[in-house]
Symmetry: C2
Subunit: 200 residues, 2 copies
DNA sequence: AGCGTATTGAAACGACTGTTTCACATGTGT
DNA sequence: ACACATGTGAAACAGTCGTTTCAATACGCT
């Protein structure tokens, strides 16, 4: 078939999905068109036909990776918890499921590449922080905190999760890291919650 | 000159220093022998003569980067502080000096590469966590804590610093991040210190 | 039926990769 | 003075890279 069928306007998107799968498995830093094309059942010619150049394809991949992340953790946004401590523990359990390890591996790889090439990955770098600051600070802002306070608190939460996740990805030492996580949650839980006005 | 002079047994080491400089500036993920050799005033032939292959050279570079880190933050190990809070703030001030930014950029890049290629970078991955766990937990162990408790606490400290540093490197938003850092230190400071026995 | 657009395969392009070969220089030890 | 080990430059190796050229498909539309 040459022309895609009527409801298949998205041969491109469907190809991109396969490409993102491939990148989740092999990483991005030494991505090469020919092996990639073989793996997704296409050809370098077609990849360049759809995206113009490897650089633009990479932009699309990064966007695709971000979309996957959002889908994967959408449940965190939909569930409501009695206490922030419970929410954090649940988030941690979700994040550290083995099936999500490639996602975090890829995130940290992208982050490292982005720091070395800020112009190419500018949007990734922005979203890597801002998406989660917004997410974590919303309940506080809704609870009446100032935006600056809420963003500072969200920054702390994000830093904690990221730091614990780095350790866990590197060492896979769940016992030690979860012990530290508990220690951390016991320390900071009183800042958030219904009585967040205390923090002012 | 062909043969190095008598006290210059370390033409190799001196070359490696220049190479590490270059990598600090250009990153590691797309390192190439010819541009590297040009920059350090050598040739691909010589680099391979000294290190055998690019892979072994990279091992040497990673070791060199780690050595630089240790030297850079050696002062943190020598200074003693009245309170852990003060020590953390001082460490943060040191870490976030602009001249140290390349070091953290490179660290995060290496970390990302290491997660995607655990066998090549196994030693880096180990040291990236263990070196600092040992460093942070020593005062607690000396103070009488159990090793597991001390390592859990050190894990939390390390995670915090790493997370804040990720944010700071990505956004350079010192005001927000330091606000979060303060929030964090105010929450967790009571765990460490002379009365660390309370944490048992 | 036939034109035009969308898509694709095969092959080649020049540039670059890590590595090797060969030659040559320079120093030390005998 | 000669042999030998250490170090280095120039060039070539085979392979891979992203990209382009040329050609050929197959489909929708008039």
């Amino acid at each position: 078939m040459a022309r895609p069928s009527v409801d298949d306007l998205s041969r491109r998107e469907q190809l991109l999905e396969a490409i993102v799968d491939y990148v989740f498995e092999h990483g991005l830093s030494d991505l090469s068109l020919r092996p990639l094309a073989d793996a997704v059942g296409s050809s370098p010619r077609v990849l360049l036909y759809y995206w113009g150049s490897k650089a633009e394809l990479i932009q699309a991949i990064v966007e695709g990776v971000r979309a996957r992340q959002l889908v994967t953790f959408a449940s965190m946004r939909e569930t409501y918890y009695a206490s922030p401590r419970e929410a954090c523990l649940d988030a941690w359990k979700l994040m550290t499921q083995p099936k999500h390890e490639p996602l975090f591996r890829l995130f940290f790889e992208l982050f490292g590449l982005a720091l070395q090439d800020r112009t190419t990955y500018a949007s990734f770098l922005h979203h890597a922080i801002e998406d989660w600051i917004v997410f974590f600070s919303r309940p506080l802002i809704d609870g009446g905190s100032s935006e600056a306070d809420a963003r500072a608190y969200a920054t702390m939460l994000l830093a904690g999760f990221r730091g614990f996740m780095m350790d866990f990805c590197a060492t896979r030492d769940r016992r030690r890291v979860e012990r530290a996580l508990t220690l951390w949650l016991d320390s900071v839980k009183n800042v958030e919650g219904k009585d967040s006005r205390r923090a002012r």
